[in-house]
Amino acid sequence: MSDIVEKTLTALPGLFLQNQPGGGPAAAKASFSSRLGGLVRGITALTSKHEEEKLIQQELSSLKATVSAPTTTLKMMKECMVRLIYCEMLGYDASFGYIHAIKLAQQGNLLEKRVGYLAVSLFLHENHELLLLLVNTVVKDLQSTNLVEVCMALTVVSQIFPREMIPAVLPLIEDKLQHSKEIVRRKAVLALYKFHLIAPNQVQHIHIKFRRALCDRDVGVMAASLHIYLRMIKENSSGYKDLTGSFVTILKQVVGGKLPVDFNYHSVPAPWLQIQLLRILGLLGKDDQRTSELMYDVLDESLRRAELNHNVTYAILFECVHTIYSIYPKSELLEKAAKCIGKFVLSPRINLKYLGLKALTYVIQQDPTLALQHQMTIIECLDHPDPIIKRETLELLYRITNAQNITVIVQKMLEYLHQSKEEYVIVNLVGKIAELAEKYAPDNAWFIQTMNAVFSVGGDVMHPDIPNNFLRLLAEGFDDETEDQQLRLYAVQSYLTLLDVENVFYPQRFLQVMSWVLGEYSYLLDKETPEEVITKLYKLLMNDSISSETKAWLIAAVTKLTPQAHSSHIVKRLIQEFTVSLDTCMRQHAFELKHLHENVELMKNLLPVDKSCEDMVVDASLSFLDGFVAEGLSQGAAPYKPHHQRQEEKLSQEKVLNFEPYGLSFSSPGFTGRQSPAGISLGSDISGNSAETGLKETNSLKLEGIKKLWGKEGYLPKKESKTGDESETPPIPQESTIMENVDQALTKKDQSQVVTQSKEEKEKQLLASSLFVGLGSDNTISLLGKADTVSHKFRKKSKVKETKSGEMTSVHNMTCSSFSSLSNVAYEGDYYLNTLQDRGDKELKKFSLNSELLDSESLTELPLVEKLSNCSLSTPSLFDDNNMEIFHPPQSTAASVAKEICLASSLLEETTEYIHSNLTEVCNNETISVSSYKIWKDDCLLMVWSVTNKSGLELKSANLEIFPAENFKITEQPGCCLPVVEAESTKTFQYSVQMEKPFTEENLSGFLNYHMMDTHSVQLEFSINLSLLDFIRPLKISTEDFGKLWLSFANDVKQNIKMSESQADLPSALKTLQQKLRLHVIDIIGNEGLLACQLLPSIPGLLHCRVHADVLALWFRSSCSTLPDYLLYQCQKVMEGS
């Protein structure tokens, strides 16, 4: 095959002359070849880029003249177009020809049309304005009876089509799915797939037709539909599980050779089809035992049938292996797959070796022993001449890193890093080294030195998180304070040594890290004085190669060190130097330093030593500026408008057409809108106005199709999928087999040492033993990549907290869900038990206890629990707010849980008239347990604390007090000091709580004290979380009143929220708002809804919402300036959360 393209350009002139005479039957073709030929020949004859440019510019200007001349025929135009394509390919601008390309597609005959379409698809892009001119042509050609025209139109549609014009062609293309020719059906399927990619909402209704395409009698059409299914299953595998059987059957037929021989490629039946199907099966079977079981047979057969005779069978094998390791594991298949991987890894063909390494990287998390088997190959690959292989090997090593082999692996990575120059490689590798170093660093010196290497190589291209994380790690420290200090001291010392080296340039980021560390922790030094450090920093500051950003860091460091220094002549010199700097930023810093320097006491207060982690208290509401604002307003200044409001105004000003009725504008910032004539009905007001909001939507950012990774609270992790992975992890391999493997490796090593061996070999063996140490025997968990179950030396404290709270939440979820749906209790309990396998036994016991308990409970007290579940169903959002309280501390015994439920039953009877939350324990000790629940009364929030005396003793003068809180007004209900609490009895304390100032969430804390028999007093503290929603009540007013109120309120907030498909209609959105936020639905006018609520005691809040496609436009107004923002936040939470 390689001899195909053997004739080279050196033969060009001769060949070209030969070509010429025979060149085509028509004169047109001859002239075309000669023109293009002339151009090509001209270009190849040239030696410099400059000359080429001149020639092409000449060509382009002559083309420009030709195409715009009215005498140019379409046929000539066709030739011009080919030349234009050639020029564009070489990178010259031929935009003057774009319109002519479209014209050619519109007007030409078949051949001209074909060139026109080709030129259009090469020149333009989806959003090009000229493309709209093509739509009509495409529509016409789609309706053509000529097969070729239809095919051309379908091709161009799938390459390039304006998104907003899809509806114009969609029905035509749908019709083509029934076309008699299979090539048309196939192209139509791909065109629809393209639509699915660029505008998934528009093709939702034809999913059923995709299914028909999957069952098409023609294999080609079926194969085309697999593109769609691969994509859709990747997005949502659960929706297509029912198709597993069909895919398995198809694959069986393909593998069994049931397809026509035409589909064979090197006597392998339809290899690409097989690959596609295997990928789909892998996605479907992931984490799903039942679905996976359906495919075991066919996978086995695929493995068996794929005889290794051609490249493409390896492609199938690779997919097979990948699929087998993706789906629910079956040991028999895994064994075969592992053997296959061996074939890849050991293959002398480099492509296969590469894929083998890739497969190993993928499966290493499930089967670490495979790495042991191939350790010598891996070592060889580390020194492979192909950098791609090396990189893949490092990727593999990265996955098997643990505390024992970290130094060797990182050393290998650093070696590679020093050789590579590509920015992408550096960024990637530096990130990995930093991550590993943080996780497994064996000691301080190693850690700091590794990070030094990372910073000096990664320098200014690396991800900014790396230096940030490093600094935070230093600052926050670990559990052991002396250890922390040693680490910091070591860092300081190592930086000072680095700075002593002459004529070395460090990246700016590294210098920034150094200056921060020196500024913070130089006080730890014994020998060097702060003056010496300042001198070094000063020297850096005077260096010209330092960027001004780094200089700011350096000055900050000097500023921090100044109060510790005894003499300050260098600081003075620095101040002198920089107060006249041309850089205003530097001057600012210098002046700050100067003024601080004049008042050393103040400076010491302001810059305390080692306080970088202390929390700062900031008045975020800027209340200290209130006076200033009031003064400004009284002098006639314009009131502050939030950013979104300004933006909306700006947008509405930019609009050309005004669709609003004059004088009724709601959005006008001034007061004109509020004084609209009273005679006009409110309904029309609002709809007129919402037409405008609808228009604005098109102007605003399009968020469709963008994956939502960041929410208000930060990164939105996918917890469920993670637990899913955990449950998928196959049973941990038998320790004995691993030991055997290690033994084998060891004996191999011994043997090889006995046999006289070259030194090189020995080195490799040594390397192997150091690389693969800890793999297998004791450390299977660390092989699972980043599972944070092992305690790492350098793990941040915060992380520990995170995982803990994560556990707590899931525990809470479990209890909660078992409460809410009893029928599922057993099932869910099992499920969680599975997923939580590796959690502590103690907790496990508790879970099973709980579910058992619930089971028995369900038999005896079914009505009660039903009531409970009803309650939690109606107010789920409120439950979300007090995760922590619902979580029962592990030590609480089954008995007390039972007691609580009994207790709950009594409480339920008392308070059925109001909705209330579940009873949750807030604190307890061996004698007493305090639980609380909320009753959402119409006029206030009633907090009830019930104190249960668990002991057999009497408690005296129990007293419950709530700490006063800024945002609350708390009123005691009678009977809050009880003289005596008898043994094993329950008493309740009630407080009504009013909100003084809106907030999102606040803690309410208090304490309980009591006297035991022997008169010593015991105090127990507790706190409970209150949310804004606890104080929101429906406001029942009429539509007219709504209109009046609406106009009288000045504070408004608007926001568009994208809704999930399930709730993308007004009724369900309103229902959500009504149920979760307790808004009262006043009226529904078309696709708009009016809702109202009041914030206790009596602050009304109004909401006007409107549904447009899947966007919910919310518009809040209230008399309170902060309420709309808070409501909006809650709204977003419930709409996105549901």
């Binding site: 393209v5 047109a28 050639y86 593109h227 690409w272 490249n311 690779f318 070796k353 001449p385 791609i388």
Partner: protein, 156 residues
């Protein structure tokens, strides 16, 4: 998805440039240039896969290339394509060119650039693999050629 298909000769002169995702003209040229430098550095006896890096689309993308005498055929694909599968697809494409041009050479690609595009359109459509069966592709092209002849005859 296939993101781009590039064909250039041993000197980096582009012979076929087809992007399935829009990039501005300068970026396209830069991609062609950088891809050329990437593959040029590589010996013929090392693997045919390259990580695209920051070039196109980021780390999810791969360059899969084959070198035939004077020409490099480079496919840039995302992770949903099989590496070896694409490697064979390149082979199918080149063999089809060989059939259509009867012993294809670089010159055919230059002088019949439009035809090469038509052939490619029958193999890959809008970034998706449409047909891998060489006979089928050749049949489609021949149908189009017949059309050309009949029209050429009618007009000429």
């Amino acid at each position: 998805m296939i993101q781009a298909i590039l064909v250039f000769n041993n000197h980096g002169k582009p012979r076929l440039v087809r992007f399935y995702q829009h990039f501005p003209e300068e970026i396209q040229q830069q991609i062609v240039r950088e891809t050329f430098h990437l593959v040029l550095k590589r010996d013929d006896n090392i693997c045919n896969f390259l990580e695209g890096g920051s070039l196109i689309g980021g780390s999810d993308y791969k360059l899969i290339y084959r070198h035939y005498a004077t020409l490099y055929f480079v496919f840039c694909v995302d992770s949903s394509e099989s590496e070896l599968g694409i490697l064979d697809l390149i082979q199918v494409f080149v063999e089809t060119l060989d059939k259509c041009f009867e012993n294809v050479c670089e010159l055919d690609l230059i002088f019949h650039m439009d035809k090469v595009h038509y052939i490619l359109q029958e193999v890959v459509m809008g970034g998706m693999v449409l047909e891998t069966n060489m006979n089928e592709i050749v049949a489609q092209i021949e149908a189009q050629n017949r059309l050309e002849k009949s029209e050429g005859g009618a007009l000429g």
